[in-house]
């Protein structure tokens, strides 16, 4: 595909670069606005405009968002919810990735009667709109005493994430030759030995994809957070939404933007550090789900 266009500066080249750069600006401007607004004073926001740089830079928006802002009735900032999100995300990501790795291993290398059916079942699970499970899940979590707990959210995210992680690993392991497994079995290795000694050492890329995909999905989730958590156990997205959409008092847009930045930072950092895997996950996740 790359040899379509020849070298040399032509008007069409200029136009292409123009369009691409313009698009880049469009994608970047909201981030820019979010950042500069978060460093402005409320006064500055009222007198200046979106694109203007702060007249005097201040981190008051950030500190306020972190520890003082009101999310609904409670006014302790989003600090606690930020940690909630971590406490929910880390175990959910690890568990769902681990389960996915084992499932993928079985579904590609240890097929049994009905394993394809099981795989189809998981595949379909990727498409189901979560609205059809919300109510029974809420009732079940209540029964289990897990309503409004981080543990409950972890469980929910594991259940609805494992289909994706299984897909990732299964598709990755399918491409690894079966002969490798056969050779290991003849060498005397069993189910777990083969997994840990042969497959695991070659799984780093797919682990990255799965971890990053799950991390962004779970960190960014709002629906489960708002339905299954309340008060102290809420994740950051719910807290951010409460903070922004609280109608009491004067709106402090610098605080809103700082809070939004705080909520966005972990996934943005992951994206910047490991964007390659992020994109691979998105593409893989989308092609099949």
């Amino acid at each position: 595909m790359t040899d379509v266009v020849r070298t040399g500066i032509r008007p069409s080249r200029v136009a292409i670069y123009g369009v691409l750069l313009l698009a880049a600006l469009v994608y970047l401007i909201p981030l820019f606005i979010m950042l500069v607004t978060s460093f402005k004073t409320p006064m500055d926001i009222r007198t200046g405009n979106l694109m203007a740089l702060p007249t005097d830079w201040t981190i008051i928006g950030w500190t306020k968002a972190w520890s003082e802002a009101c999310t609904g009735v409670d006014c302790g900032g989003i600090r606690g919810y930020f940690w909630n999100s971590f406490k929910m995300t880390v175990p959910a990501v690890l568990i769902s990735t681990l389960l996915g790795a084992f499932n993928g291993y079985v579904l590609s290398k240890w097929k049994f009667k009905g394993s394809n059916l099981f795989f189809g079942m998981l595949l379909f699970g990727c498409f189901v709109p979560f609205q059809v499970v919300l109510l029974p899940m809420a009732a079940t979590l209540g029964q289990l005493g897990l309503a409004n707990t981080t543990t409950g959210l972890v469980l929910v995210h594991v259940i609805y994430g494992v289909a994706f992680t299984t897909l990732f690993f299964r598709n990755y392991y399918v491409a690894i030759p079966d002969a490798l497994i056969k050779a290991a079995r003849l060498d005397g290795a069993g189910f777990f030995t083969i997994f840990f000694r042969i497959l695991l050492p070659m799984s780093t890329p797919i682990f990255m994809v799965s971890l990053i995909w799950q991390f962004t999905q779970i960190w960014n989730d709002f629906l489960f957070g708002v339905v299954f958590a309340s008060g102290d156990s809420q994740p950051i997205t719910v807290a951010l939404n409460n903070l922004v959409n609280t109608s009491t008092g004067v709106k402090e847009y610098n605080v809103d933007m700082a809070a939004a930045m705080i909520a966005a930072l972990p996934t943005l950092v992951v994206y910047i550090v490991a964007g390659k895997y992020f994109i691979r996950g998105l593409t893989a996740g989308s092609v099949k789900g």
Binding site: P177, A179, A183, L186, D187, G188, A189, R197
Partner: protein, 371 residues
């Protein structure tokens, strides 16, 4: 060394309607080198996998040194296998690859080190021990794959097309090497190949499979000279044996069969006496290229030899010979001609038919008519 009996092995894959192995019976003597050949999809790999225990069998039994191992797990059978793709563990070094099976079996460290050294020495890969498989050439990977099998000193070795990923020159080298190894270690080997020459040179006996059925089991010479049926005859040998439908007649000097060239001229080929009860009936003449040559004076007086004029349709020089194509009774027939003896396509040439080694098949049953 170990002796292996395959007793009417049957295998049906779940979800597949047709049986893949339809009752295979082979007795393999200790130290014997058995080669499995057959067209793609005939079940060679399946048979190997069932012997190794990687696939279960549906019926029959596999007996190793007098003991039924049909239901044993692969790890308990003490069988090693070399795969076409080598299947080296990509994250382990050559040393670790070779040692893996021993480590799993809990062998002491010194013993493992000794064994790895022995095998590396045997295969001349000592200098590669610390490399990862991906850094090795195809031939070196092949050696490592064999090393991994040798290290465990298993009772049986299975080779599934071990050389087919190598280039032609290396393949010949490795072939010789495998032969040497076998002669030295006297191991029992079951070996799958698509390569005719590999089969002929390596095998003690060749087993020809088709559609999951054993067609013939015999020494390379037997399989080549007295193929059991049309399939085996056509499968073994390159260029392949030609099949010409002929009718057996009673001639003045004995039995004969008339063949017609592409220019309409006919000659009578002498045929052996054992076809006496087929006079007046059609049989299929199986004739190999080397049975039709340029005239050779020293053979002139022999029995079952005759000469005739035929138009050469195509010539294919191969180096040691020229393969020429003629037509007999409207079928293409290959002849093997000395390059010193000039023949040109489009012209007629005198050819000599040596009918001593030709074979005949029954057109109905496709089986060879016994001498």
């Amino acid at each position: 060394m170990s002796q292996l009996e395959l007793r009417s092995i049957r295998k049906t894959y779940s979800g597949v309607a047709e049986e893949t192995l339809k009752g295979i019976d082979i007795d393999i003597a200790s130290g014997e080198f058995i080669i499995l050949v057959g067209p793609s999809g005939c079940g060679k790999s399946t048979l190997m996998n069932t012997i190794a225990g990687l696939e279960t069998i549906t019926d029959g039994s596999i007996v190793l040194d007098g003991k039924d191992i049909s239901t044993m797990e692969p790890k308990d059978r003490d069988i090693a296998m070399v795969f076409q793709s080598y299947a080296l563990y990509p994250t382990m070094s050559v040393r670790e690859n070779i040692a893996f099976g021993l480590k799993i079996r809990g062998k002491p460290k010194e013993e493992i080190a000794q064994e790895v050294a022995r095998v590396a020495d045997l295969l001349q890969i000592s200098h590669l021990l610390d490399k990862k498989p991906s850094r090795l050439s195809g031939g070196q990977q092949q050696r490592v794959a064999m090393g991994r099998a040798l290290a465990r000193r298993p009772r049986i070795y299975l080779f599934d097309e071990p050389l087919s990923n190598l280039d032609a020159k290396l393949r010949v080298e490795m072939r010789t090497e495998i032969k040497k190894l076998h002669q030295r270690l006297k191991t029992t080997i079951v070996y799958v190949t698509h390569d005719q020459i590999e089969a002929m040179t390596l095998a003690d006996r060749i087993a020809v499979l088709k559609d999951g059925e054993l067609q013939q089991l015999g020494t390379p010479k037997e399989v080549y000279n007295t193929p059991a049926n049309l399939f085996v005859a056509g499968f073994m040998g390159s260029p392949a044996m030609s099949f010409v439908p002929v009718t057996v007649e009673q001639g003045e000097h004995g039995l004969q069969a008339e063949v017609r060239g592409n220019d309409g001229g006919t000659i009578k080929l002498p045929v052996p006496d054992y076809l006496a009860d087929r006079v007046g009936r059609e049989v299929i003449l199986g004739i190999r290229p080397e049975h039709i040559t340029q005239p050779q004076d020293q053979k002139d007086d022999q029995d079952l030899v005759t000469k005739g004029q035929f138009t050469i349709e195509v010539t294919e020089p191969t180096g040691p010979d020229v393969i020429a194509l003629i037509q007999l009774n409207d079928t293409n027939v290959h002849c093997r001609i000395d390059p010193e003896h000039p023949v040109t396509w489009g012209e007629t040439a005198e050819l000599m038919f040596d009918m001593k080694k030709v074979v005949f098949f029954d057109p109905e049953t496709e089986k060879r008519i016994a001498a």
